[in-house]
Symmetry: C2
């Protein structure tokens, strides 16, 4: 006869086997409490000094995105700032640099790290005009970013709330809070105009 | 009285609203059929020309990883090859370059793109001694890589089968097959020795 308690036992020993195998490969990891980050709560009027700062810095990211469009690149821009001061600005340069990793966010992170002389961008905020993809959301973990603000969502590759929620994954060794929608319509309009023009040319 | 059909209606209209909002932001995406990739089936004896090639190229990635350890970097190495010929080799250089994105895989992809003069690495295979993290697995999508082979799994950040299965996600605009376990024990031993030595020093 089928005894369901045997199944449970089997699942438990399989899990134990998998865990012990992983420990054998990489070694044990010391447990440390990690903060759990959810998207920031939208505040009633979205006003106040932080909202104004976010708007000002997103405008800079949007200017970088507009520059990308002029150069025939998909218009995405990014800014890394610390205490409201800009450390680095970048726009997508995939075609210009012939580099698959030359997304605006990745370039901005690398430039900011060069500026600070450290790969740790603790205390920094990244502003991006489009929701970061898995590569860029992962790079934000790698850089130990403190906060992400983005404009438009990306239903095709967004990894910061849309297809994945990488910023808030408590299994990774770092998490970061994020806010979306700042200058969303302006960023979306820039992208739409770029793709419409490109389709028109083809 | 509570009518569950109202709930269904509500969910359906909410979904329609979200979809129409996303279309408004980014525009519609033409549907195209995409191949669905699962991990490659391990073959009975893991022999034959492809297995031998994988072993030879993973040995090169492992040599790069050993070089990283000598330089005080977490020992991870990567190779990009096309038709069995090496296009680029890299090891983790995060500390040396003070660059949060300087993982072995990302550096190897960028070098291979420079070598080919194109961001598209179609036809190329990436060999990595550790399972790619979200950033690196995402970069493989961005580079349109054709195949991934890795040695050891990464229970802490692996995004190629462990925490996430990014290579096989059919929602992304590219998928790629992967194989794991090639020289797994050698790669794991190198990582273990590095961390043991570092702990000993502290």
């Amino acid at each position: 006869m089928h005894d369901p308690s045997n199944d449970e036992e089997l699942v438990r020993s399989a899990a134990a086997l998998i865990i012990s195998r992983r420990i054998a490969i990489i070694g044990t990891v010391p447990e440390k409490p990690k903060p759990h980050h959810e998207p920031e709560e939208p505040r009633a009027a979205e006003s106040g000094p932080e909202a104004e700062r976010d708007l000002r810095l997103m405008r800079c990211a949007l200017e970088a995105a507009a520059l990308a469009a002029e150069r025939g690149e998909v218009p995405v821009g990014a800014v890394v700032a610390k205490d409201g001061e800009i450390l680095a600005t970048a726009h997508n340069e995939r075609e210009t640099l012939k580099d698959p990793t030359a997304h605006a966010e990745l370039l901005a992170l690398r430039r900011a790290a060069r500026e600070l002389g450290s790969w740790r961008l603790t205390g920094c905020t990244l502003y991006a005009t489009l929701e970061p993809c898995p590569m860029c959301a992962g790079a934000l973990h790698a850089a130990r970013i403190s906060r992400l603000v983005y404009a438009a969502q990306d239903p095709k590759a967004g990894a910061s709330g849309t297809l994945y929620n990488l910023p808030a994954d408590p299994r990774l060794n770092h998490t970061y809070p994020y806010k979306s929608g700042v200058l969303r319509d302006e960023s979306a309009a820039l992208l739409r105009a770029f793709f419409e023009q490109r389709r028109g040319r083809q």
